[in-house]
């Protein structure tokens, strides 16, 4: 289901503002839409457009040289707040494949990994350097297989967990893997768990 992601080569957009939350990424009122498709146009909606649809000048994603960028260099706490996966679906559909930041909202980072979007945590000083490279218009080259980022004069290691890397490279779906590999482990665990906390099984919740 998920598109494999092996390599990204594009410009990057720098959004250093701390704590950009998932409400900013995807305002709640669009959560009433039940489709995953078509959400890209609501990305950062209220930062980019007034209520009547007039564009707001100056949002970095809308700069002329940011068009087609697949990478966001974010500030600390990127994606904090609500668990809404729409934030990730909207980023993905807009064309973003990678977010680099000093740290992330936990649920947001998990959601990225489930949708073929790389969220990688990097030291704050490196984020600043990469942000400067982004603003200088450098092309970023991110190799997920080799765990490497190159941007202008910078070459640095990409921080990505083994399981996330494998899922991205192969487009794996967690449910398939768990059902295929762990069915017996789950059954064995349930037998033990039922002995320890039988009330969780006997009581109809």
């Amino acid at each position: 289901m998920m598109q494999p992601l092996t390599r990204i080569s594009s410009r990057a957009v720098y959004l250093p503002e701390p704590n950009i939350d998932t409400d900013a990424l995807f305002p709640a009122r669009y959560l009433l839409l039940m489709e995953r498709k078509g959400l890209g146009e609501y990305l950062f909606r209220d930062r980019r457009f007034l209520a009547d649809g007039t564009p707001i000048a100056g949002f970095p994603l809308d700069a002329a040289d940011a068009q087609g960028a697949q990478i966001i260099i974010g500030g600390p706490g990127f994606g904090c707040g609500s668990s809404r996966e729409q934030a990730v679906w909207a980023l993905y559909e807009y064309g973003i494949r990678c977010v680099l930041a000093p740290d992330f909202g936990d649920i947001f980072a998990n959601n990225c990994a489930k949708n073929g979007l790389l969220a990688s945590r990097m030291p704050a000083s490196m984020i600043e350097a990469l942000g400067a490279a982004a603003q200088a218009g450098e092309t970023f080259d991110i190799d997920i297989e080799a765990r490497q980022i190159r941007a202008g004069a910078i070459t640095t290691a990409l921080n990505v967990a083994d399981n996330v890397r494998a899922a991205l490279l192969n487009g794996w779906d967690d449910t398939d893997i768990i059902l295929a590999e762990d069915g017996e482990h789950i059954a064995a665990f349930e037998r033990l768990h039922r002995q320890r906390q039988p009330w969780l099984f006997e009581q109809t919740p």
């Binding site: 009122r29 039940m34 209520a51 936990d106 489930k114 399981n163 449910t175 768990i178 349930e190 006997e202």
Partner: protein, 474 residues
């Protein structure tokens, strides 16, 4: 099985290790999920994933669904007017019936916010791992539950496999000490903690709240405290279960009964951190001198004592922080260095999974009693569940609110997330008991000041932000 072999363990260690199905080579673990709560907004796509994968639900009885986010809080006798909200609520009904999951629907007196309904029904129990497609799932940690918010994809994984893959968290203990003065409640403490450690300061950590102030708290206050854990970035927040917890749960519809109850309590008593257990980080907050705490900006970390003044970005050394402050002040329509007391409000909201319980309504009603909402303020009370609403009506709280000029509504998330018609107009300023003051959270352009229920009631009747401690008697 609780023989104390080896090193002393934290409560997190116990909750985690009793749910590890297996450890993978890469440092992640497969974790067993005992209970899964669903609501209408984050699950439609989860069911699509189940449909497309032709999955079955591993243990249907471990799931409980309730619509809360998008539902209207009035005219419940009529069909939902907003076609999108109606479709989403109907989708939850059809999905749960197709897969054989229990649903508490809109017309059920038990309907309410998922994090209020779970504990109320005894669906939430100590010692379990609970997941929900909602970031405030940590609320359930008040029961000694390991409770985490997950995304829509993970909801589908949980339903199909009863498991999720997780990385073990680092552990943090926050000791709350001292003697809080009158009117200082869990909300003030939570905001003070977030202001201290930052909106993402507990990232990667599971937080255990402990200390004498926590031990003395009732379950409502503990839920408020745990609820806000996500606002400092924590993956989970929880409190060791004790007699207060057991007394709350005993006799709840879905709680264990008879011999099962006795066995459960015996097990639950083992769920405390061992003396000498080591945490990755320990913080202590003394709340003796804590003033009512409110937010001035657009992140929950931008909180100050109500007696303080909004910051002046010109005095901020870190340029990114200064820019952030300036942006927040602009958005909030505040000039630098404004006194918080006296800021005029347009709206007041009492409700949400943070402060929508009966105890919260009592605290607000105690201030509203015999007073009148200021003429320029529109104020509403939205009980956290239908049962809370019924209880408040029985206690006479609803009459107090109504005669003071508050709107008295049906249960739901309402103006916490502004997915229904309960929302701020652009530029409107709201004193709110909810948990997020993000830009646009209560409606595009809306301005939110987070505070406790008593403080919101005080602001509503005063027409501006006030210090509830100086209200005097009505």
């Amino acid at each position: 099985m609780t023989k104390n072999i080896g090193a002393p363990r934290t409560l997190y260690d116990k909750l985690w290790s009793s749910h590890v199905v297996r450890d993978y080579d890469d440092g992640t673990s497969l974790i067993y999920v005992d209970r899964h709560l669903l609501h209408e907004v984050t699950t439609p796509q989860s069911f699509v994933a189940l449909d497309q994968g032709k999955r079955t639900i591993h243990r249907p009885a471990s799931n409980l669904a309730v619509p809360d986010h998008a539902v209207p809080t009035e005219h419940r006798d009529q069909p939902i007017a907003d076609p999108l909200a109606r479709a989403q609520t109907e989708r939850l009904t059809s999905n749960t019936s197709r897969y054989g999951l229990e649903l508490i629907d809109l017309h059920d007196p038990r309907q309410g916010i998922v994090h209020i309904v779970g504990p109320e029904q005894g669906f939430t129990l100590p010692g379990i791992f609970l997941a929900c497609g909602d970031s405030h799932t940590a609320t359930h940690g008040a029961f000694g539950t390991l409770a985490v918010g997950i995304g829509a994809s993970e909801c589908a994984i949980v339903m199909a496999t009863q498991c999720i893959r997780q990385v073990r968290s680092k552990t943090m203990r926050i000791d709350i000490t001292g003697t809080p003065s009158e009117f200082i409640c869990a909300k003030d403490i939570a905001l003070a903690i977030i202001a201290r450690i930052g909106a993402n300061g507990a990232s990667g950590h599971a937080v255990e709240y402990a200390g004498p102030v926590v031990e003395a708290m009732d379950m409502a206050a503990r839920m408020t405290l745990c609820n806000m854990s996500i606002e400092c970035g924590a993956r989970a927040g929880f409190i060791a279960p004790d007699e207060t917890t057991f007394a709350y749960l005993e006799g709840r519809p879905m709680a264990p009964k008879g011999e099962n109850w006795k066995a459960a309590v015996a097990y639950w008593r083992t769920l405390a951190s061992d003396p000498g257990a080591v945490y990755d980080r320990v913080e202590t907050i003394d709340v003796s001198d804590l003033a009512p705490t409110i937010t001035w900006g657009t992140s929950p970390e931008e909180a100050l004592p109500v007696t303080a003044r909004a910051p002046d970005p010109a005095l901020e050394h870190n340029p990114a922080r200064g820019a952030r402050q300036q942006r927040a002040l602009n958005y909030m329509g505040l000039t630098p260095d404004t006194a918080l007391i006296g800021i005029r409000i347009d709206r007041a909201f009492i409700g949400s999974c943070t402060n929508g319980r009966i105890e919260d309504l009592r605290a607000a009603a105690a201030i509203a009693r015999g007073r009148t909402v200021a003429a320029h303020v529109r104020a509403m009370v939205v009980p956290g569940s239908g049962l809370v609403k019924r209880q408040a009506e029985a206690e006479g709280l609803a009459d107090i609110f109504r005669s003071a000029g508050f709107e008295w509504r049906d249960a739901g998330c309402s103006m916490c997330v502004a997915m229904n018609s309960d929302r701020l107009a652009p530029g409107e300023r709201c004193a709110s008991t909810s948990n997020r003051n993000f830009e646009g959270r209560q409606g595009p352009g809306g301005r939110t000041h987070l505070m406790s229920p008593a403080m919101v009631a005080a602001a509503a009747v005063s027409g501006c932000i006030v210090d509830v401690r100086t209200m005097g008697s009505a």
